[in-house]
């Protein structure tokens, strides 16, 4: 009597979670902008046997944005997921993996991300600041003012803007712009930059030193700007030993 087909994998089975961990590592590893994402739920899993110890696995994953920028070396497990009232961002990913002799490799992945609806946030927290467009004029003004303020006070390297990661605007009870942005150290000190800022270039990859800044600018009832930046220090790139990526991977679209 032919052996009964194995029961379909459940979304909470250890093997499904192992596959999801490889997929999330791959997705974060392929991303060069924004924030790291963490697994929130395995929506579905389909296994298509290809032969002995060889399966193709299709995963549908529900991810949530964390507070770690993609350049932050902090391990994902230590990155906190944005709370609902911080205006969470969800990622929906479809990932195709292959499992050969127990080793997972990612063949392709496709992700879409979207912020939670503002109505949901307002319903629960009427005064919570809401996500704003990254090219909003107030946002760009706040980022520029915050980086200039930081560079004018720091005794360290002159920092250049890499990208604006997130921005929120609060309207009541004060008018407040909250921004997060990624920066990189240049080959100038902040003092040298005052004389000739054009000469200040980002450090080469083998010396790169990225960082992250947060700033808030209250414009009403009074003006108040606060900026804080932290550099990660030079990171020696290390491939993740627990994950293998197939060369044929289609990358993440």
């Amino acid at each position: 009597v032919p052996a009964a087909a194995p029961a379909p994998l459940g979304c909470d089975d250890p093997e499904s979670e192992a596959a999801a961990d490889v997929a999330v590592s791959y997705i974060n590893g392929q991303s060069h902008h924004g924030y790291k994402f963490a697994l929130n739920r395995i929506e579905n899993i389909r296994v298509i046997p290809q032969g002995l110890n060889n399966d193709i696995i299709f995963l549908e994953l529900d991810l949530l944005e964390t507070s770690c920028h993609i350049l932050n070396p902090t391990p994902l497990v230590n990155c906190s997921v944005r709370s609902f009232t911080e205006h969470a961002v969800e990622g929906d990913c479809d990932v195709k993996l292959q499992k050969v002799d127990g080793v997972f490799s990612v063949l392709a992945s496709k992700c879409n991300s979207h912020a939670d609806s503002s109505e949901d946030i307002i319903q629960l927290c009427p005064d919570c600041p809401l996500l704003a467009s990254l090219n909003n004029t107030e946002v760009l003004t706040t980022v520029t003012a915050a980086l200039n303020a930081y560079n004018s006070k720091t005794a360290g390297a002159y920092l250049r803007l890499l990208e604006v990661g997130r921005a929120k605007i609060q309207y009541e009870p004060v008018h407040n712009v909250i921004v997060e942005f990624a920066v990189a150290a240049t080959n100038c000190s902040a003092e040298e930059a005052k004389d000739n800022v054009e000469a200040c270039q980002l450090l080469p990859d083998d010396q790169s030193n990225f960082g992250f800044c947060t700033a808030t600018m209250v414009t009403r009832p009074s003006q108040d700007l606060r900026a804080d930046c932290k550099l990660y220090g030079h990171q020696v790139p290390t491939p993740d030993p627990g994950v293998t990526y197939s060369q044929a991977g289609q990358g993440t679209s």
Binding site: G10, C11, A38, N40, R41, I42, N44, D62, F84, A88
Partner: protein, 38 residues
């Protein structure tokens, strides 16, 4: 006049008695929510 048996009574007799405490297994997917659902 034809006396019609109460459907409920008939259904009651036809129903296969289930052992007490029998619950169908949870669906295999979607899995558990680790943080919150938006």
């Amino acid at each position: 006049s034809v006396a019609k048996r109460a459907v409920a009574e008939a259904a009651q007799h036809d129903k296969v008695p289930r052992p007490v405490g029998f619950l169908p297994p949870p669906p295999p997917c979607p899995g558990k929510i680790r943080h919150f659902k938006i």
